[in-house]
């Protein structure tokens, strides 16, 4: 279980998260939507201590997220993070990118690592790229490898920070496919995304954020068809208008 | 063995005199070599005129791959063998100038090469002549792009003037050397002079940064 209690984050004078409260249970698939600057990414990154909390507390399975490097490393092992800009290590092969954590932290044996990498590459559909280098891959391929790298930690939770926002449109589908598969397998995940249709499909819970707080929290049927909050309504309207104009 | 830090301050006039000579030499060498270097870069970039290109390339590569001190001694001690006698200052200034031009040549040439072809094509397509394209469109962008490198080379020119102390040119380093041999208060003198040079370097870098902000930055950055 991931708990956020009265979490406040500020960048200088700007308050980005204001007394945020949230509980995510094992098995939940949570999609976080909202306008730019609403604090969605900041909330996600705060869980992994990539942003420093001004006040409040975050608990992962009962352990508090803290600045203590050693404690944080144990917590991070449970949190698999996928970034908007992929952040693969360009000078290492795909195999090495994925094998880093199993090799150095989990200290698995070579045969186990080989097996793990092969299984993960199969899962994301990129077995043939095992010894390629990230610059040789397309954006969609890189993101799928990034997902495999995060899964190599055997995490309990997966955090996706706008995983498809930096991708060309035709490459988005292959990444969403992998994420959907993970959700179907029961992985607990929090996805910050702009892909509304995708969110509607796979999430069992939608969070709408605006201006540093969660303004709505409910199942997709409720949020998308019958939003309670005015701001949610206008946000969804602009999104659907844009989608319609595209078609 | 006590250290007298007042000593350098008591000789401030001499040090400032030396610093002035350093600055005069540096600025003269800078302006001359920037001009000469630009001419060289044009020859190096366009590889024409056919006869000048190999000569300029030779000058540039020799100046960049041999030490300044050797170049200096070659001119000051070697030329008299053929009857060409130069004063230390003239010899020193000429050598530093040509040396620095070689570096400016490559800096500017690199800058010209990094301007995308699209700029040349667009400029020609609106009717500008080759010379106009270069002076109005290309060269201004080159200067903006290589401005930091030009500044860095200027700092190296200032450092180069210190080598002229070997020819008894009365710039800052030579003043320090002379004072040192007279009084032997070495540590105080050279630490002081080192700080003086550091000050000159900082002033150069800061003014350059300000100049860049004023002339180029408003047109480069996104608001």
């Amino acid at each position: 279980m991931i708990e956020l209690k009265d979490v406040c984050v500020s960048f200088g004078k700007l308050d980005v998260l204001k007394n945020l409260n949230l509980t995510v249970n094992k098995g939940d698939v949570v999609a976080v939507i909202g306008p730019s600057g609403s604090g969605k990414s900041t909330m996600l990154r705060a869980i992994n201590h990539l942003e420093v909390i001004k006040s409040g507390s975050i608990f992962v399975d009962g352990e508090q997220v803290t600045s203590d490097e050693k404690k944080m490393r144990a917590i991070r092992q449970k949190l698999g993070m996928v970034f908007q800009l992929f952040n693969l290590f360009p000078h290492l092969t795909v195999y090495d990118n994925i094998a880093l954590n199993p090799r150095l932290i989990q200290k698995l044996k070579k045969e186990d690592i080989d097996q793990l990498v092969d299984d993960l590459l199969k899962k994301v559909g990129l077995e043939e790229k095992k010894f390629s280098y990230p610059p040789q891959l397309s954006g969609g391929q890189m993101q799928r490898i990034a997902i495999a790298r995060a899964l190599a930690m055997k995490p309990d939770y997966m955090l996706f920070d706008e995983p498809t926002s930096a991708l060309d449109p035709e490459l988005i589908g292959e990444v969403l496919l992998v994420i959907r598969k993970l959700a179907e397998e029961g992985m607990t995940m929090i996805i910050v995304t702009h892909e509304m249709n995708f969110a509607k499909e796979i999430a069992d819970r939608i969070l709408m954020m605006d201006d540093g707080i969660i303004i709505e929290d409910g199942p997709p049927e409720e949020i998308f068809t019958n939003p309670k909050n005015e701001r949610t309504k206008s946000f969804l309207r602009t999104i659907t208008e844009r989608e319609q104009k595209k078609n | 063995m006590f250290l007298d830090w007042l000593f350098p301050i008591m000789h401030l006039p001499e040090f400032l005199g030396g610093a002035l000579v350093t600055l005069e030499l540096s600025i003269a060498a800078f302006l001359l070599s920037l001009f000469l270097g630009t001419l060289f870069s044009l020859v190096r970039y366009s590889k024409k005129p056919r006869l000048l290109y190999p000569l300029v390339t030779l000058i540039v590569e020799v100046m960049r791959n041999t030490p300044l001190l050797v170049q200096l001694f070659f001119v000051y001690f070697g030329f008299p063998q053929f009857g060409i006698l130069l004063s230390p200052t003239v010899a020193g200034l000429s050598v530093i100038t040509i040396n620095s031009s070689a570096y400016y040549s490559e800096i500017i040439r690199g800058g010209i090469q990094s301007i995308s072809k699209g700029q040349w094509e667009a400029a020609r397509s609106i009717g500008l002549s080759r010379a106009q394209v270069f002076t109005r469109i290309i060269f201004p962008q080159v200067i903006r792009d290589v401005f930091p490198s030009i500044t860095n080379q200027l700092v190296l020119v200032v450092f180069g003037t210190s080598v002229l102390s070997t020819l008894d040119v009365k710039e800052l380093t030579q003043v320090a050397s002379i004072l040192n041999s007279q009084s032997f208060r070495s540590l105080e003198i050279f630490v002081f002079v080192m700080l003086l040079y550091y000050g000159i370097t900082e002033i150069t870098l800061t003014s350059s940064r300000l100049a860049y902000k004023k002339w180029f930055a408003p047109r480069t950055e996104r608001r």
Partner: protein
């Protein structure tokens, strides 16, 4: 022009060439070790260390090498620390190289996108592992042209050691020049020797820069609002 004296002095010239190479070699090796350590420390968050090391780097990059040589050479004798000329010269060149290498290393480290750090933290690596596996390997390629460029410059700068009496190529050339009364030819020979050492390294730098430029397309996903600017004060 008369080069007939050349065979007679070839032994001396070869020996002094060797001294030049020895000096630059040692300065490069020691300076690299010092410089990389200082460069990494400059990116740490511990303020006192940062300020002291920053002062060292700024001083040794902000003043001419000749002054640094004079300062250490005369200064040490002045406070009654007696070390050999060789050691003094190697010490100064090491400190000089260290300062420049530190700056190159530091700016290399800071040029790696923060995303790389974040991803590395998120898969559980500690600081040393991140430096060793993710950061330093990537800056080697970036820093190589500047490093080699600096080494070329430093090899030429060893000529300054002649001024305080160190017996490298230029110092012995002065002996040759006075005994043969042929400074013109002497310095041509000396120049050619330096050229033979430095020119291939210069071509190598061009080669490396080309390779990097070709590989650089598409290594990091590009944030479209980034404006590329050169750094000031990185001589």
């Amino acid at each position: 022009m008369d080069f007939s004296w050349l065979p007679r002095y070839s032994g001396l010239i070869t020996k002094s060439l060797f001294m030049t190479l020895k000096l630059s070699g040692l300065a490069i090796v020691f300076g690299m070790i010092l410089g990389v350590i200082v460069g990494v420390l400059l990116t740490s968050k511990v303020k006192p260390i940062k300020y002291i090391l920053r002062a060292y780097v700024e001083l040794f990059r902000g003043a001419p090498l000749l002054i640094q040589l004079f300062m250490v050479f005369f200064g040490l004798a002045y406070i009654h620390i007696n070390i050999s000329l060789s050691t003094t010269v190697i010490l100064v060149f090491t400190l000089y190289t260290g300062a420049y290498v530190a700056e190159i290393t530091r700016s290399g480290i800071e040029s790696i996108p923060t995303g790389q750090w974040e991803a590395a933290h998120s898969i559980g690596l500690n600081y040393f592992q991140i430096m060793r596996i993710v950061i330093l390997p990537q800056i080697i390629t970036i820093a190589l042209p500047s490093l080699i460029g600096f080494f070329i410059g430093m090899t030429k700068d060893t000529s300054l050691a002649s001024i305080i009496g160190y017996s490298e190529l230029v110092k012995n050339a002065q002996t040759v020049m006075t005994t043969t009364s042929r400074p013109f030819e002497t310095y041509i020979v000396v120049g050619i020797l330096y050229f033979i050492i430095c020119y291939p390294m210069s071509r190598f730098v061009v080669f490396v820069e080309d390779r990097i430029r070709r590989r650089q397309k598409g290594i990091y996903p590009v944030n479209k609002t980034m404006v590329k600017r050169e750094e000031f004060g990185s001589a």
